[in-house]
């Protein structure tokens, strides 16, 4: 390595040193330690005791664990596709030449800024079975017995999905930016070919923004698997029949309420692998639909 090259390397490392130090102390060390703890009996107060695969074996027979995994996946399967379709529809509407676009965009974006604790409190009130705004509206619309969103095990996850979809403004803004980046030439060519608005949307616009849709889907999967604050605020002890016991909530309970830190670490590692697995699966299964245009 020449002297100049070496100097450049040292300058570069000096600039990124905050991240290098943080990466070592707050990422690499915790990852290694967490993997180690996952094979230990650990309560933070005393030294970890090696127990081998015991934590992972316990997971297999822990009914609450499976329930929490199941709940989280069901929640994701409801909220993610619905939220994405809803966001895409709103973004397509916002992309049309209408007055007041900025205002509409601001309104859609606003709920995604609301702190999870406050969102949880507000939705507890809206989903209230007797006096909640939603059920009052459903009664007014003629629904005889509106769902008990917070008390019926079958309705807690759809209720939480509503809260999640309410916060989809982030996605709307990202998709809108992508729509505005669709090359005009493509659209004009489609118009000259006589394609209807619907076909232009389906065969030109959506393929053109498919990488962005895919990106949001992946981010959504990762986010859904880690759903914590809203659920934690809205339900105690996992809600009715543990129907709102989510993965991240159960993990938190194990770590900080039952002081089973080793078990919590094992859960975290399974979550990590699950995230990677689902992302890989998503990238495999969408290969035919996502179009990357060469730059």
């Amino acid at each position: 390595m020449s002297a100049g090259e070496r100097k450049r390397l040292l300058t570069g490392l000096a600039f990124i040193s905050p991240w290098l130090v943080g990466f070592g102390v707050f990422t690499i060390y915790p990852i290694v330690a967490s993997l180690y703890y996952s094979f230990c009996d650990y309560d933070v107060l005393s030294r970890p005791i090696w127990v081998g695969w015991l934590n992972y074996q316990d997971m297999l027979t822990d009914d609450v664990y499976w329930k929490s995994l199941n709940n989280t996946l069901i929640f994701g399967a409801i909220s993610l596709p619905l939220g994405l379709c809803f966001s895409l529809a709103l973004a397509v509407l916002l992309n049309r030449p209408v007055a007041g676009r900025g205002l509409f965009r601001a309104i859609y974006y606003l709920p995604s800024l609301v702190p999870a604790v406050a969102a949880g409190a507000v939705w507890l009130w809206i989903l209230n079975t007797r006096n909640g705004l939603l059920n009052q509206a459903l009664l007014w619309l003629g629904v005889d017995r509106p769902p008990q969103w917070l008390d019926d095990p079958n309705w807690t996850k759809p209720g939480l999905a509503l809260v999640a979809i309410w916060g989809c403004g982030n996605t709307v803004v990202i998709l809108l930016a992508a729509l505005q980046g669709v090359p005009r030439a493509l659209l004009e060519a489609a118009i000259i070919d006589g394609a209807s608005a619907w076909r232009r949307l389906w065969h030109v616009v959506i393929p053109a923004i498919s990488p962005v849709i895919y990106f949001n889907f992946i981010v959504g999967v990762i986010g859904a698997l880690q759903t914590f604050a809203t659920v934690f605020v809205m339900f105690t002890n996992g809600g009715p029949d543990r129907s709102a016991e989510f993965y991240a909530v159960y993990l938190y309970e194990n770590a900080f309420e039952f002081r089973q830190m080793g078990y919590a670490c094992a859960m975290a590692w399974v979550l990590f692998l699950l995230t990677l697995g689902l992302t890989w699966l998503a990238s495999r299964s969408t290969r035919g639909f996502v179009h990357y245009s060469g730059e």
Partner: protein, 369 residues
């Protein structure tokens, strides 16, 4: 656009906007009501005060149930307060209950109510004394209860202390994150060195790691340092950059022409001075975006404070709201909504003031990945 699709677009956009806004408006509406108006059916959007005018004096009352049929206002034997009974169930001072039991009652008044001329039970706002009046005799005006906010702040505990803690954390996080992330982003974009691209991939890879994986070791590390129960775990890490913000700033730094740095280098400018005096001032919009997102993330953070803070005196607003919600009674919705409003309001103000930066920031992060 032709008129019909245009109209439909507008209708859809307005319907969407209503759905997104209603929860927040309902929160505000509830926050400004007295307790008894929060559960009125059908829902009441604007908080009101009700008055009864009798003998030229006006007194404020709270509304009770309506009476739509002829009734009597009577005290059953053994009871202390009068109740409203259907007139058909009471004959000669004897009330026949729905299951056929007969109870002596002391009748005070006969109420000639009908569906066209309903009456209502009201309670005096000052004394609580219950009386029956004609609906038509009740006047009302719109009157928000601003004092609910003060009550909610007291119900939360030491509101201003939580507010102070939250602001301190926000300021420290914003300073730390903007400084460290811009330094790191500079090293990853405007300097050429061996191994840069591979290290940058590692940095991007760290975004995939769920917080849950590092949560327990971080906790035990901060515990060993004696930091549990202090604010330190909630801001120190911000001084070590975050992958997301480095990525965002790098995208921006790369758009600045190389020639600018080259010219400064030829003039003998040190690399740090180029960063500090030339590049950073040009990147203000991007720094604002990073600052905004960091502020928001800190203001909204719940899991961090939940894990690391043990003493009420160190609580942030988010944690204060959660503990208030746990303690509050089922009828305290107006206070809970007032406290929620207080937490959301600064965020909304910030958003209105810096809307452009927000939208640009999100569009860059999502669009170019």
């Amino acid at each position: 656009m032709r008129p019909l699709p245009k109209l439909l677009t507008y209708l859809a956009l307005c319907a969407g906007a209503a759905v997104f806004l209603l929860p927040l408006l309902w929160m505000l509406s509830t926050a400004l009501k007295p307790a008894e108006q929060t559960t009125v059916q059908p829902p009441l959007w604007l908080p009101r005060r009700y008055y009864v005018v009798e003998n030229d004096t006006r007194r404020e009352v709270k509304l009770g149930g309506t009476i739509a049929n002829a009734s009597v206002w009577a005290t059953p034997a053994g009871a202390t307060a009068p109740i409203v009974l259907p007139q058909s169930d009471v004959r000669d001072g004897v009330w026949t209950t729905s299951n056929g039991r007969q109870v002596n009652v002391d009748t005070h008044a006969v109420i000639p109510a009908s569906p066209d001329d309903p009456w209502r039970e009201v309670a005096d706002a000052a004394t609580g004394r219950r009386t029956l009046v004609r609906d038509a005799a009740i006047q009302s005006r719109i009157a928000p209860r601003w004092e609910n906010f003060g009550q909610a702040m007291r119900a939360m505990g030491d509101f201003w202390r939580y507010f102070g803690n939250t602001v301190v954390l926000c300021v420290l996080n914003v300073i730390g994150m903007v400084l460290s992330s811009s330094l790191v982003a500079y090293g990853f974009s405007r300097l050429e060195w061996r191994g840069r691209e591979s290290l940058f991939l590692v940095l991007l890879g760290t975004m995939m790691i769920p917080f849950a994986v590092t949560m327990v070791p971080l906790y035990s590390m901060f515990r060993a340092l004696g930091w549990i129960g202090t604010l330190r775990p909630l801001w120190v890490t911000a001084f070590f950059a975050s992958a997301f913000n480095v990525f965002l700033l790098r995208q921006f730094f790369r758009t600045i022409p190389r020639e600018l740095s080259e010219a400064a280098r030829i003039d003998g400018c040190s690399e740090f001075r180029i960063f500090w005096q030339i590049i950073l001032p040009l990147c203000r919009p991007a720094l604002v975006v990073v600052g905004l997102f960091t502020f928001l993330g800190t203001w909204n953070d719940f899991l961090g404070p939940l894990i690391y803070l043990t003493d009420q005196r160190d609580f942030t607003l988010a944690l204060g709201l959660k503990s208030m919600q746990q303690k509050s009674a089922l009828t305290d919705w107006h206070y809970l909504m007032a406290a929620s409003t207080l937490i959301i309001l600064p965020i909304i103000a910030l958003f209105i003031a810096a809307q452009r930066s927000f939208v640009q920031g999100i569009a860059t992060t999502g669009g170019k990945s």
